[in-house]
């Protein structure tokens, strides 16, 4: 063998001994990758869509009731890397496969939130050892918010902010809630850039200070939080939010949909609904109270009177939430329409019953309004005309 052929042979394995050893280890790890009990076949979201990937799923630190949920390590095959903030679905001890149905495999975001027990996000990268390992954190909450009439959501993690406060803060004349918590969510735009809508993701950059979230399993006494701190650079790819407990606003928040600021004002939904034709028969009934203060159907069509509450009920079959709307009839400027409609206080009791109370504004007398109701699918629609009297 000639000297330069031998040199070339040696250089194939690396320029120096470190590279040779590294290449040999890479080969061994890659070759034996699936022989490790820690091996799992995971499903990971990349810019090009969901794909299978091989990982070693490794213990990192012990879980304890004294601290938050801990992160785990995942190690990809040598030379394979994914950005921090990527979603990764890792099979758990119950099965070797993902708990996704065939349809859900095409788009795992169609999996109901309560079934998403295997979802993680990459939250950090450990460069310390020879083999890069990524830290992953289990997702446990689907954060939902409203932006410009659209409901946005992101699956992320609730973190404890170790708030050893009393939970209430008393000032001179009032008491407010004072509990702190944290959320970690992927910076979806940073990770998936302009592929967001194709992948079915929402842009988490739109979460800003004072954004309110409902984070609770308790729809009787829901807990709401307000964002007080946004950290989106440590590390890049994850947005860490500090949230402070905020009062539940029964007028504006919707516990059934776990959405804060769902109602713009009482009865008016903050989310765009597009009625789609099918106008149902007239289903709005005038209601009144009997001597036991029970709500009964009124035998006559009543006037709205200033300072007095009137009741209406819809007899629609729809089980979807109903949206009630009042429109001023006549030729008025936009300002006047907004002013007069605002003078009528609409309170929604349950899905089908509302009350309307005109304020004690004398200018309201004689004004006529169109009261309409439609369900959130837009399939049913019904309306009546009302006049305000003294």
């Amino acid at each position: 063998m000639r000297l330069d052929t031998y040199k070339e042979y040696l250089l194939k394995h690396g320029n120096n001994l470190a590279e040779v050893k590294r290449n040999q280890s890479d080969y061994t790890i890659d070759y034996t990758f699936t022989r490790d009990p820690n091996y799992k076949r995971v499903y990971i979201l990349t810019k090009d869509g969901w794909k299978y990937e091989d990982v070693k799923y490794q213990f990192h630190s012990a879980s304890s009731i004294l601290k938050d949920a801990v992160d785990y390590y995942v190690q990809f095959r040598p030379g394979i890397h994914y950005p921090i903030g990527s979603y990764i679905i890792i099979p758990d001890d119950t099965t070797h496969d993902l708990n996704l149905s065939e349809d859900e495999l095409k788009n795992p975001f169609t999996q109901p939130v309560e079934d998403r027990k295997q979802w993680w996000i990459i939250v950090g990268r450990n460069d310390a050892s020879a083999y890069v390992r990524y830290m992953v954190l289990k997702c446990n909450w689907n954060f939902r918010w409203i932006l410009n009439g659209k409901i946005l959501e992101v699956f992320g993690c609730i973190r404890n902010a170790n708030s050893y406060t009393s939970g209430a803060w008393t000032a001179d004349y009032s008491t407010t809630l004072d509990n702190l918590s944290g959320c970690w969510i992927p910076d979806t735009y940073h990770v998936y850039s302009d592929q967001l809508s194709t992948l079915g993701l929402c842009d988490t950059r739109t979460i800003h200070y004072d954004q309110r979230f409902m984070i609770t399993n308790n729809i009787i006494n829901p807990k709401c939080y307000r964002v007080t701190k946004v950290v989106d650079m440590v590390p890049q790819g994850i947005i860490k939010l500090s949230i402070k407990q905020d009062d539940f606003d029964s007028k504006r928040d919707c516990p059934e949909l776990l959405l804060c600021n769902y109602y713009e004002e009482e009865g008016k939904v903050n989310v765009d609904i597009e009625p789609s034709g099918d106008v149902g028969s007239n289903s709005i009934k005038y209601m009144t109270t009997n001597e036991d203060f029970e709500l009964i159907e009124s035998s006559e069509e009543l006037l709205l009177r200033i300072g007095i509450t009137s009741y209406f009920e819809s007899s629609m079959d729809s089980t979807l939430p109903l949206e009630w709307k009042l429109d001023l009839i006549g030729d008025f400027s936009d300002e006047d329409i907004a002013y007069y409609c605002n003078l009528l206080k609409v309170t929604k009791f349950d899905n089908k019953t509302i009350s309307i109370k005109p304020s004690k504004a004398k200018s309201l007398i004689g004004k006529r309004f169109n009261l309409s109701v439609c369900d959130t699918s837009g399939n049913y629609y019904s309306s009546i005309e009302l006049e305000v009297g003294e």
């Binding site: 004349y173 203060f293 029970e294 304020s359």
Partner: protein
């Protein structure tokens, strides 16, 4: 002169025992009678009860809804006009308050039988309720009504004079407007309102 402790005879029900008690009752009566105060305080209407389809045999769901409505109706009964200045606890149903109290703040330099009384009326409004449908801030609207009811009237005997009407931020959630009315009154003189105790007589 010593008070005869052994033979005290009091009528605890008589509001005229003390002019502050009496005047507070009067103020409460005035505020409660006003047709607009409750409206401007944003008092919520009770919800009508749900009707049972079969009154003799209501379903579990109907009973639960009824219970919920009754609980709500109980909660909104929370008093909003309060005859003392108080700290508000955490609750959601009632957010706005009209509170008042009376202080004896001074006596006349020349005639100690005449005192100066200060009536403090405080309109405490939650930040979410500051706007009204009338396009007027709720604290301002309430203070207008209070001023309309009291200023330059003889509601508490002598003419009430408004000396202060100032706004304040109570904390992150509450705003308030405090009005201070001043009235001259007899300083617990025998034979006048607030006098049933012979030892209250002024003497040297």
């Amino acid at each position: 002169m010593k008070r005869d402790i052994e033979n005290i005879k009091r009528d605890l029900e008589d509001k005229r025992n003390n002019d502050i008690i009496y005047k507070k009752a009067k103020l409460m009566e005035i505020f409660l009678k006003d047709p607009d105060i409750q409206e401007v305080l944003g008092k919520k209407d009770p919800r009508p009860l749900n009707k049972y389809v079969d009154p003799s045999n209501p379903t579990q769901e109907e009973l639960e809804t009824r219970k919920e409505i009754i609980e709500y109706n109980e909660k909104i009964k929370h008093e909003q006009i309060i005859p003392f200045l108080k700290l508000n606890g955490l609750q959601y149903e009632v957010l706005n308050f009209l509170m008042f109290d009376i202080n004896d703040s001074d006596v006349s330099y020349y005639n100690k039988t005449i005192k100066t009384q200060t009536i403090l009326v405080m309109c405490l409004i939650h930040e979410d309720e500051m706007d009204t449908q009338y396009g007027i801030v709720r604290t301002d609207l309430l203070s207008y009504i209070v001023r309309d009811l009291l200023c330059w009237t003889n509601a508490l005997g002598m003419q009430l004079k408004l000396t202060n009407d100032f706004t304040d931020i109570i904390d992150v959630k509450y705003y308030c407007r405090t009005m201070k009315f001043v009235v001259q009154a007899p300083n617990t003189v025998r034979g006048h309102m607030g006098m049933n105790n012979k030892y209250d007589d002024f003497s040297w």
